[in-house]
């Protein structure tokens, strides 16, 4: 399917993001939209959302501690190790694998009747390096939304959505 005549992929709504975290973590996760412009951090965990032709049309980046905290909370792992996370290089593989579940649901929310069909691609530690198309998407999105997330007992931080 050509992506030329279609709308950009939709950004998940605040209540959809909150619903995703609350459902998966079984916790009352606080999610609020940042009103002010907040430049995204250089580091974190990023999930790439690709169309059926492999183009990176969107990405969801979270602070490393959010990826670790959500990954731990998902399967009731202790919060202790999450407190030690400083960079994405510190995110345990198990936490990253669990975080993929959240990223997968968020990617599903980025489909609509009028936009290209997309699915979750890679979920990466930014510290491991990014492909050129993902770097370009982060640097020059057509839309970027920022959310504050607080996972009680685990972590608080930011979630950024980039849309091409």
């Amino acid at each position: 399917m050509s992506t030329q005549a279609l709308d950009p992929v939709p950004v998940p709504r605040l209540e959809e993001i909150k619903g995703t975290f609350c459902m998966l973590l079984a916790k009352d996760v606080r999610v609020e939209q940042c009103k002010s412009y907040e430049k995204h951090t250089d580091d974190g965990v990023i999930s790439i959302v690709r169309d059926d032709e492999g183009n990176a049309l969107a990405a969801v980046q979270v602070d490393a501690k959010i990826a670790a905290g959500a990954g731990a909370a998902l399967t009731l792992m202790p919060a202790g190790p999450v407190k030690e996370v400083k960079t994405s290089a510190d995110v345990f593989p198990t936490h990253l694998e669990n975080f993929r579940e959240i990223a997968n649901v968020l990617a599903g929310l980025m489909n609509s009747q009028s936009s290209p069909h997309v699915t979750l691609g890679e979920v990466l530690r930014i510290a491991d390096g990014l492909a050129d198309d993902v770097r370009e998407l982060r640097a020059n999105p057509t839309r970027r939304d920022v959310f504050d997330i607080d996972i009680p007992g685990y972590a608080a931080g930011r979630l950024y959505v980039f849309v091409r």
Binding site: C22, M23, L24, A26, T75, E101, N104, V105, A107, T119
Partner: protein, 118 residues
């Protein structure tokens, strides 16, 4: 009641089980990681209800459902999936699924949907 939960993600199988409990379904849970394993477990475990993901390796959820119905098995079947386009819903119903629950869901979603089925 016995429910077969099919998803390639262990975490998601756990979340579905937890949500079933929260929704008040006191069921024996059987798990499978893909459609092929689920097909085998449907024969051996004889569940009353199957909750299946759509996208899975080895055999997808819709392939599993088609194989099930093609073999004459009419166990109640619903999808729990992160993607739910109108085309997917139509395909699911056309193949014999009773419902499609899209993620994110909660206990109320399960209660409302499953109470009409089981």
């Amino acid at each position: 009641m016995k429910i077969l939960v099919v998803d390639d993600s262990r975490a998601m199988r756990m979340i579905v089980q937890r949500t079933l409990r929260q929704a008040g379904f006191d069921a024996t849970i059987v798990e499978a990681e893909n459609g092929q394993e689920a097909l085998d477990k449907t024969k051996s475990e004889k569940p009353d209800l199957i909750l299946s993901d759509w996208n899975m390796p080895v055999m997808s959820g819709i392939e599993f459902l088609n194989a099930l119905r093609g073999g004459g098995n009419n166990t109640k079947f619903g999808f729990v999936t992160s993607e739910s386009t109108p085309a997917m819903r139509a395909q699911a119903v056309g193949s014999g699924a009773a419902f499609l629950i899209s993620k994110p869901f909660n206990a109320d979603t399960f209660k409302d949907t499953l109470n009409g089925v089981v």
